[in-house]
Chain length 483, copies 2
């Protein structure tokens, strides 16, 4: 892989911008992030039109996504202004200890320039100015984004708006750059200037980049979100209490955004002989299909569905309305839990698009055996009732907790709130790290600890001096302190 | 790589112990850790004798190291009892928000069984019951240790004592296991039961294990500490003020423990023409050599020194006292900064043992160019005086901060206090991650986030229920709360 002259210039600019971002006071960095957020909001109408032309996701959804994206930038501005993300720990010197202890002042600092590969399914929130970019900038790092080929014009326009806003607010040249060539992603994660990478996309593409990042002479952290089957377990008691609303909820969730959410429920465990299949089929029959995001997905969805249909153990439960030419038709299949446990590699492979698999279980042991075969996921869902035995549910939860980063109850996994508490991550292949890509703690991915020992005050970073500590959450001599 | 029947049994036991450790209350886990600490202290005299026979490190140093190791276990007991390590974040539901927000309760939980490869140079503190093991257990994970071939009898005896103590305190079978075959380390990091690995050792060995861990079908985090040159910069003003004590301090630091600390100062930048070389040579002439830890190091040290001596740009500044047969003789070499900048791959390669390299710089630019060539290190040290210009020092610090995890002033890097604030890590190859292997925050390596959405209280983990939150540091609806 080689880099073009233009890309080399972008990398050089990012390297030069890195110390400026790292050294900038929190208030300054927060102002830059808010300037980017304001610029997105101010240009929302123009951006939404381009985004809809390229992604077919609809203006209502896309307008909401712009708000989510600017809101995300503002959340990270608040995160860095508060300062707990610095994880400051101070231990005063103890000259009388054996051996004598020096003064140590620890905090987190930016890792350096970050490469971000954007996703097709969120052209704003997981793209040029999305969560990876916002958290990397907030952590004090310049960002180079590889544009997604699914929305090239939107990527270019968004980058121009955000770069101009950052510059107008006083940010350095090189704060953000866009690379538009598909192959450039590989060269980017291998380039010595790049110190970490964020990625949302397919297992195949993500694994390839992960291997390149890990295979460098100096490996860098690669934060990838690579795919998720998002298991749902429904108990008999839950079906007894609310089968109709469960069927409606499931159909709405797995067909939302034409089934192209990374938290789409892709496998649903139901008691055998419950008749739930018919309810789902009836609900699905009313649902119209839609066009998928890209040509690649348009090709892969029917192929992936055909693979599932071709398995001797599966049956089609129902389909959505006949879709217009080029659009995807939603589908639900079913299979027995014992078949899933025997053949998880095929039956529990993520299908990106509006498909889900109902898995019939014959009691707790059958259920647990099949759940053990579920690959790492972003989410796992349990629908139960108070009438269910708690220790029986605990056995199910013990498996779900090992399989997913977010365990949810009596709801549906699509919809990921951008909050302080959110965790959007999970065991491989859901993500490649022990971190989240959504929510306030996503910032931790692009920070590294550094400790100063016995530093003269004039040489300490400003935020580690005693006068600054008074207004920052920190730990001192073992005790947590709030401002 | 294959696993033996005994190793398979150990892995099965660890897998069975994992949910018990993960679910154990903090008080219970803390009691297990303290039982291990007490057992080490109670058997210290016997252990020290074996350790000295195998490591030649001397009983005084080894007795201190047992105290450090049991102290480390007790620090982690305190860490988990306090509970901030759980990083609990709760956001209450906001049904009126657009879209409505669910309740989310986030905390960290153990990743699962951890493999630890122990080091030769700290037969207690970085071995069977050392920092990796203590932090992995504290995080709620069983541990399988690969014994270091440099102290096999000590490893076996320590493991027996700790395992018995854990069992007597009520810990499950499989909490800790020891694997004694050298090749087993490879199979261990590749085994599906193992969810993370800790390692302290050579760049070559560490890189090989890192590649195996990253190359798994489901890659796992590999926390390696692989080598560090630990640059020291001395200004002219510092030499003017205290050249004698700097020379004594340097000699004491780089020959401590026969130069076998991972924080040994391996390269020292001094102003050209300062005459500091003669002071170091005079001090070194009084220093006796010592036997190195293992046959491998005994072989590699003179070879590595010969490589440095063979470079046309280097000169020998001085040597220690003639060493008895089989012992290492300390040595200091010197070179110009321009040569280092031109040939860092050879001149800045870590030499494990009592050797250091004085690098003469001709002013600030010459210094900065050479510093840019220094590989990632655990520490970087600046010796300066108030008379030095702050902005000149800031330029030097800007480079040192990017090169190291601990920046220290007017001291020496050997000696790593086990505290809340410590950071023992740094850019590759110092470590393979953005984490520390020493100090309270080392626990974060073996934890992953999990969030519960809209969970009925009876199905929530105990520490996330409202009544438990009152006594745990946490964040709720954005605001930090202390008990």
């Amino acid at each position: 892989m080689t880099t073009t002259t233009e890309q080399l210039e972008q990398l050089t600019d990012a390297a030069a911008a890195a110390p400026v971002w790292r050294a900038a006071h929190a208030a300054e960095r927060a102002a830059w992030l808010r300037a980017a957020a304001d610029a997105l909001d101010a240009n929302a109408e123009e951006l939404v039109v381009i985004a809809d032309e390229e992604s077919r996701l609809g203006e209502t959804r896309l307008r909401g996504e712009v708000g989510r994206t600017s809101g995300q930038l503002r959340l990270f501005a608040a995160v860095i202004e508060e300062g707990a993300y610095l994880e400051i720990i101070v231990d005063d010197a103890e000259p009388a200890a054996t051996p004598p202890r020096p003064e140590l002042r620890r905090s987190l600092t930016g890792v350096g320039p970050v490469a971000v590969s954007s996703a097709s399914n969120f052209p704003f929130a997981f793209s040029v100015a999305g969560g990876d970019t916002a958290s990397a900038l907030a952590a004090g790092n310049p960002v180079i984004v590889k544009a997604h080929s699914g929305h090239p014009r939107l990527s270019a326009r968004t980058a121009k708006i955000v770069i101009e806003a950052l510059t107008a607010a006083g940010g350095p040249v090189g704060s953000l750059a866009l690379i538009e060539v598909r192959e450039a992603g590989n060269a980017l994660v291998q380039h010595p200037v790049i110190q970490a990478a964020g990625f949302t996309g397919s297992l195949g593409g993500g694994r390839a980049l992960f291997d390149l990042a890990s295979g460098r002479p100096d490996p860098i952290p690669f934060y990838g979100e690579l795919g998720s089957i998002n298991p749902v377990v429904i108990t008999q008691a839950a079906l007894d209490a609310r089968a109709d609303s469960l069927a409606q909820g499931l159909v709405a969730s797995f067909t939302l955004g034409v089934g192209q959410f990374c938290t789409k429920p892709g496998v649903v465990f139901i008691p055998s002989g419950s008749g739930f299949e018919a309810l789902v089929a009836a609900g699905l029959a009313e649902v119209s299909g839609g066009r998928l995001l890209t040509d690649r997905i348009t090709e892969s969805f029917p192929t992936d569905v055909a693979h599932l249909e071709g398995e001797p153990t599966t049956a089609v439960v129902g389909v959505g309305r006949a879709a217009p030419d080029g659009a995807a038709r939603s589908i639900v299949l079913s299979v027995d839990a014992s078949a899933v446990a025997a053949n998880p590699g095929v039956l529990l492979k993520e299908v990106f698009g509006p498909a889900t698999l109902l898995v019939r279980y014959e009691g707790q042991d059958d259920l647990l055996r099949a759940l053990e075969a579920v690959p790492g996921s972003l989410t796992a869902t349990l629908h139960s009732e108070h009438a269910d035995d708690a220790s029986t549910l605990d056995e199910v939860l013990a498996v779900l907790e090992r399989r997913a980063g977010r365990v949810l109850f009596d709801g549906w996994p699509t919809g990921v709130a951008v909050t302080w508490s959110q965790h959007h991550g999970g065991p491989w292949p859901a993500t490649t790290s022990l971190h989240t890509s959504v929510g306030a703690t996503a910032i931790r991915r692009f920070l590294r600890p550094i400790v100063f020992q016995d530093a003269p005050e004039r040489l300490l970073p400003a935020h580690l001096r005693d006068d600054a500590l008074a207004s920052l959450p920190h730990r001192r001599n073992g005790a947590l302190q709030l401002p």
